[in-house]
Amino acid sequence: MGIQVTSKGLLLDGNLTPLISGTLHYWRLDVENWGPLLDLVKGMGFDVVETYIPWSVHELDKGNFDFGDHRKNRDLDRFLKLVKERGLWVSVRPGPHINAEITYFGYPRRVLADPACQSRSVDGDPVWLPVPPKMFPAPSYAAEAFYKEVAGWYDAVCPIIRENLYPKGPVITIQTDNEFSNMFRTSAYDHDYHPDAIKLYHEFLEEKYKSIDALNKAYRSRYSKFDEVLPAREFAARDRDDLPYYLDWVEYREYYMFNALRRLKRMFEERGIVGIPVTHNYPCGYDMPPNNYTLIESELDFHGPDMYPQRRQYLELKSLVQFAAGLSRYPCIPEFSSGGFLWSLPLGLEDQRFTTPATFMHGIKGINFYMIVDRERWYGAPVSRDGRRRPGYYEFYSQFNRILKSYRIPELEKQTEVLLLSNRDYERLQIASTILDPLPPIMPDMLPPEAHCSEECLGFAQPIQMDAWIMDQAFFFGLNAAKITFNRGNTSQPLSALKKYKVILVSTFEFLAREVQEKLKAYAESGGFLVLGPHLPDFDENMQACTILKDACKEPRLIAGKMPVVGHHCGSGTVVWIQTVLPQADKKTRPGQTTILLRSLADQAGVSFTYTCEDPAIDTVLHQDSQTRILFIANTMDDDRSAEIKLGARETLLDVQSGEEFSGDGTASVPVPGFTVRIMEVRT
């Protein structure tokens, strides 16, 4: 590959280039303004711009494309050349899906109207997306007819992109599709039941089990071939033995997404788009089915969550960024709010001033501001479509870029020793056990399992699909309250990724995939501090007896006073078994016993608490390398606070923006206005 992807940015000819970019849509702007607008973007300190390339705009009718002959502002090649002339790089996103608030999301209407291209509901109906200004049927990303249409589009657009590829041209990344996630409709039994999708399901089963006997063993069934297995239509499991079939169905839905992105990537490669990173973006950062960071990044170079947070959504932002930081090869936000679309929550400069540095605080290394130049169906970009600078906004991005560059913030390492793992087995169970199907047609994080999952115990001691979420939330809010800096991950991550952390927390119940049990055991044996519970598993993902973790736990000793928490030696490490579901926690309720327990466990594991602040509203994270230490201090509430920060000996804090300096005898008092992130250099 001509371009190397690192955890801090792209290496272009050996030069590190963090992807700090802004979006402008060339086809929505007057061609005469392209040059001056690019100059304004560069003037804000951006080295990279980003644009979609809309299929429906360039296609006049089937097989007939306009790249500037009919309308000048469709001249993609000219736009890319202008980018190059200004010494800028560009990320391109040719779809087929682009959203962009464009009618039909960039798909030609004729493609959407073709029944052969449409995703199907469980009843065989087209699947409609309720989006303004017009609802339309979602395409099937398994349908051969759909890929044939996409091939026609790629045949037309890829030669122009190829001509402008790095190093000859400015194109340094390309995105496959956009915000996949089954078109925002994530219920397991909503769609896609297109005949080609069912064929893909059978291929998935065959790839997974290799032989029908292996599948029959897992399902306790008597199929003679894979295509006899009917797709799941609703959750009807009565007992744990019924679960493998449903868990596979949800896993297949991850595979469906993976297969689509892999296929589109290969279609790029067949058309000469090679040597640059291929990326993707989620509409929601939670690594829950059908999203699967680890699986997707086994094929694509990197991907990340799109985010449009208000300042009051700090914890949601933090959580999403922690997933990206813990899971991605290169933690990026492909779309971050710089303005908003009309049917989103209202956003303004006060939101962006707070949320933008908060993303870097929690581990983001690359960001694309969407939109950096205004356009139709958008508001609040720092530059209007006719080149006016929006008061306050333009200055904010200019200053923020200066700070990022001056202090090399994307190059610094977020100092974290703790990883909170989501459990892929239980997430699949949550998605599988919905009783509100085919709703919710929205993202899983918007509707917690207790609102839609079956409450049946399914042969276990408790409804795992609900209690696993309670345990995850208890860990998340408990770590926050205990002032522990952490990343988030998933049990699907490889062991090498887990070994970077001193402490790992994960909910475990009576079943857990054999591979995950082996991985967690290996992590602890190699010296890790593994915190799990409320059960040590007895079964694997096929509900066969499997006690790998249980067998690995030796010499129990009571750890906590009031809670049933037992520590075990495991190789050269420790397994801490919390033998109860922790008390329910949320934004408003953070039970003190969980905070005390997690703080005590972190102390035992030797986690550092320097640069923290005891005020619950103040969050701090340190980033550093051998030359620079940067401390982010966030006031997460709307009232002004004074943050008492624990410092090392003879250390001071310098605000990189205002130049104010703070020192003290082991503690510095730093005033932090409401909803503000102060970026401080730690000086000795």
Binding site: W128, E234, G348, W378, G380
Partner: protein, 288 residues
Amino acid sequence: MISEDIQIIDLDATHWNNLLKLFGGEFYEHRPQKKGAGRASLRIIHQEGKALKAIHSQKGLLRDFDFPGPDSLEELARREDVKRILLVERSAPRRLMHQVQSRLSLDDNMVVQGLTIYECVRDQFENKGFMVWPERPLRDVKYSAIQAILKMAIPAEELVMLVIFDTEGNTEDLSGFPILTSLVLRFDSKHEIDLFTTTDGLVPNGLTLGKDWRKDYKKILESARKTWGKVFLGIFTDLAGMAELDKTPMPGQAKALLEMEKGEKLIIDPFPMRLKMMLKMGGLAGKK
């Protein structure tokens, strides 16, 4: 009613957020503060008389919920001390989705599509797939009736505009105009909205404003006419004017509007005769 090619353009963030606040009533000091949580509500998913899920708006999930059945919702509301109950039969969402997705058409505009969904929801309520307590029948709404009213009220290919001036000089947005917020809608030949914009779109045409909105509004009208087309209805006022109107209880608003217009607290220009007649009729209806 909404064109699929609608242009939504030239919206400043401050301007747009002010519009949301205006319609949300956040600017009006006279409006009562939002009350506390009040009495709670209950959502239940059931199957054959058995509750599969019960969620209380204040207590959260109620596990092992004792459900007396769909015929005893009033009794249940008393027992749980809730003011509202939503009951969803397990298979109703699937039936609803099937109904909706088999009926929607790409040839319809979004309002027609929305009404198609509404019809299906109404059908599920009539067939007890969804139930609410206290019962509230959903009205039959026909697109043709809405369309007929719209055609009667506003001519095709003309604009309506609302401009709220900022007399305090607090607004800082891209235009630099002393305008708190504005909204401009244009209807195309099919009476579908094809333009959704604000006065910010008048800046590139060289519009400048002074400090007296009662004089300046004419400049806006003229610039809007040149930029977007004929203006059918323009309403111009300031925040005080909007607050006064908001304070007036229904059905007295039509009369109040006419009086404010007379006293130049609010300017309606152009003031279409058909609207004036409607307001006068409304004003009479509002008399005690």
